[in-house]
């Protein structure tokens, strides 16, 4: 059984990959995927600490998070579809209506 730090390293790596995806992807769906990765990294952390402390509340929390993530993806994809319908693109670089 690996120790806590390796869990945390994996989680940090996943988080970094997710962040990298969010920052570099131009496709809105890709960005959503990046966000998913980041959330999952957090979930790994939660589970790891739950195991460490032997506290089931952390696990419960992780289950909730998975559910919420699913909902978030559903909402995010719906938004992407609506944006595509209106703007005919999902290129994040071109969704700059808020430019100052």
């Amino acid at each position: 059984m690996p120790d806590l730090s390796s869990y945390l390293v994996v989680a940090a790596l996943v988080f970094a990959i997710g962040l990298f995806g969010v920052l570099t992807r131009r496709n809105a769906v890709g960005i959503l995927l990046g966000i998913e990765l980041m959330l999952n990294a957090v979930t790994i952390n939660l589970v790891a600490f739950a195991r460490l402390h032997g506290d089931p509340v952390g696990l419960l929390f992780a289950v909730f998070m998975i559910a919420i993530t699913v909902a978030e993806v559903a909402v995010g994809l719906a938004l992407v579809i609506v944006i595509f319908r209106v703007r005919r693109t999902i290129d994040a670089d071109r969704l700059d209506l808020l430019r100052g």
């Binding site: 969010v22 920052l23 994040a92 670089d93 808020l98 430019r99 100052g100």
Partner: protein, 622 residues
């Protein structure tokens, strides 16, 4: 105290009515009759006060203070205020009646405004004379100043009238500054504004004498401004820019008399500071002579009268300064009557001829016999010829000054008496006698009251509405004189014979000289002018006093104004402009951060979190 209150309230009611009821104001003549009715009733009430012998004082608390009110308001009816009530209401009444005919060409709304000002003016002056305390007097004092500003600048579209109004306002304000400072200092020294309390303290010798001279000098400064004493007399001749009836009002009953009234009212206090009294007498006598010389060379009939007012005010002040304030006050009353007469007469002439220049009149005696007679009566009174009103008051002044032990002042006043007779009869001979001036038919009338009815040839006596105020004043002038000559109103008091002879001789020689120069032509006026070249030169240029004041005004006031304008425009506004410009530019630069692209925001958030983490570590580690 019913009738004095009525005297005060009626003109104010008229003012409110005319000022607030728009249809009344827009229909000028109706406003005129409103004002006239009110002032007529006020005159009757004033007469009732006078004849009924109402005296007394009413006080109401005004400003609350520790241990009794700090200031009071009320009415003070005594031997000074009652004659003033009668004079002010009488002159106001006659002037308002006269104005109705004089200003018949004015636009109706404008006439309504005129009568509103007139009623307010009468109210202010009546309030001033009825004031039982300095503080109330000051309030009405300023109201009087305001009203004179409004009336002098009545034809405000004319730049010269607007400038004259401003000049009058500023010049009198200069004196008022001293007045208000004096009142406050007097209050801090004694703790009261009320005349009665102050006079009681002066009587009991409990008044702190230390610093009193400064205080009384400051209060006197207010009178200098209002009563056109040297060197603040410059506004009064310019005030001729107002309509002629306004001049009559200002010169006879309201405004300029306020200063003399103030000195007469404060006499018990002035009596404690002989140094200031001497100053008052000297300045008064000097003013009298200075103004008389300027009147001798003036061509404008109204300005001659204006300078003569300045001169006569100098007389009154000199009397007050010599300790004969009663004589000065007496002169104030008689002068009020015959100066109103002279101004209204001059107004009738200007109305008929359409010019102010005496050399473009001439021979008006035939065309306007009524005006000529009353004007000559007024002139005799002003020159001080027995048995007219002016003779007795002038003699009383001279006697008072002589008894006051001021031979220098007396000599100045005596010379002034001679000059007064001269310049007034100069005007009379040029205007009413002699031939009709050559060529005044060709030149277009350029009168200030520019609604003349043609040239001297077609001039005629004014309508009855203007004529009978003139006659009434003339009758009064003669009547007051006769009552003193034969009725013994002087209380059996007779001045020394030599003084009577002297004043008659002075007046007579003045008249004779005027006749010789401008009536019979025995003496060539041009040669006299050459012989007295330096004085003539100075007098014609008004001793450069107007120029000096103008220079001071332009140099000092406008200089300061320009400096402040510069500060405001470039420093205050500049700072604001710089700040706003920077804000704009900063916004312009900073808005580029907002790219609108989502990844950039995520970059920002990530970087920010990273930064916070690093900082938090830093914070913790040491």
């Amino acid at each position: 105290m019913g009738s004095p209150l009525l005297v005060l309230a009626l003109p104010f009611a008229a003012f409110l009515l005319i000022a607030l009821v728009r249809p009344l104001r827009r229909r000028g003549t109706a406003a005129g009759w409103t004002g006239i009715t009110a002032i007529a009733l006020a005159f009757i009430a004033a007469l009732q006060t006078w004849l009924g012998g109402v005296r007394g004082q009413t006080l109401l608390p005004w400003l609350p203070g520790d241990g009794g009110p700090m200031a009071t308001v009320g009415l003070l009816v005594d031997h000074l205020s009652v004659p003033m009530l009668v004079l002010v209401t009488l002159v106001s009444l006659l002037v308002q009646l006269y104005s109705l005919a004089y200003l018949h060409d004015e636009p109706r709304a404008s006439l309504g405004r005129y009568y509103a000002y007139h009623s307010l003016f009468a109210f202010s002056m009546l309030g001033l004379v009825l004031s039982p305390s300095y503080i109330q007097m000051f309030v009405f004092w300023e109201l009087v100043g305001l009203c004179s500003y409004l009336l002098i600048g009545y034809w405000y579209t004319r730049p010269s009238a607007a400038a004259a109004a401003l000049k009058a306002f500023w010049t009198t304000k200069l004196g008022d500054l001293g007045f208000v400072a004096g009142i406050v200092m007097l209050w801090s020294a004694t703790g009261t504004f009320e005349f009665e309390a102050l006079f009681r303290m002066a009587n009991d010798q409990t008044l702190p004498l230390e610093g009193l001279a400064t205080i009384m000098f400051l209060i006197y400064l207010g009178a200098v401004g209002k009563s056109a004493q040297f060197p603040l007399h410059v506004w009064l001749p310019d005030a001729m820019e107002g309509p002629t009836p306004v001049s009559a009002l200002i010169h006879a009953a309201t405004m300029v008399t306020a200063g003399v009234f103030l000195v007469a009212r404060s006499e018990p206090l002035f009596a404690l500071v002989p140094g200031v009294l001497v100053l008052i007498a000297r300045v008064g006598a000097f003013t009298a002579l200075l103004a008389a010389t300027m009147a001798c060379v003036e061509r404008d009939i109204k300005r001659v009268l204006a300078y003569s007012t300045v001169s006569q005010l100098g007389y009154m002040m000199a009397a007050a300064g010599a300790g004969a304030a009663a004589a000065g006050f007496f002169h104030l009353l008689t002068h009020g009557v015959f100066k109103a007469l002279l101004f209204l007469g001059a107004g009738a002439v200007i109305h008929a001829v359409g010019t102010n220049d005496v050399f473009r009149m001439g021979g008006l005696r035939r065309a306007m016999p009524h005006t000529a007679i009353v004007f000559v009566i007024g002139t005799f009174a002003l020159a001080g010829v027995w048995p007219l009103a002016g003779f007795f008051s002038k003699e009383a002044v001279l006697e008072g000054v002589w008894n006051g032990g001021m031979p220098g002042v007396f000599a100045l006043l005596a010379v002034t008496a001679f000059l007064t007779a001269f310049y007034m009869f100069r005007v009379v001979f040029i205007t009413f006698f002699g031939r009709a001036a050559v060529g005044h038919g060709a030149a277009a009338p350029h009168g200030r009251d520019a609604h003349g009815h043609g040239e001297a040839g077609h001039a005629h006596d004014p309508p009855w509405l203007m004529r009978w105020p003139l006659w009434l004043l003339a009758v009064l002038t003669v009547g007051i004189g006769l009552s003193y000559a034969f009725g013994g109103s002087g209380g059996g008091h007779h001045p020394p014979v030599w003084l009577t002879v002297l004043s008659l001789a002075l007046a007579g020689s003045g008249i004779l000289l005027a006749w010789a120069m401008h009536g019979a032509g025995w003496i060539d006026a041009a040669r006299v002018r050459r012989a007295l070249a330096p004085i003539d030169f100075l007098a014609r240029r008004r001793y450069f006093l107007d120029a000096i004041f103008g220079g001071l005004y332009r140099g000092l006031m406008l200089g300061i104004a320009r400096l402040i304008g510069f500060l405001d425009r470039y420093v205050v506004d500049g700072l604001l402009n710089v700040v706003s410009a920077w804000t704009l530019r900063a916004g312009d630069v900073l808005r580029r951060i907002q790219t609108g692209r989502p990844p950039d925001y995520v970059y920002g958030v990530s970087f920010g979190v990273l930064l916070l983490l690093v900082l938090a570590q830093w914070w913790r580690s040491p």
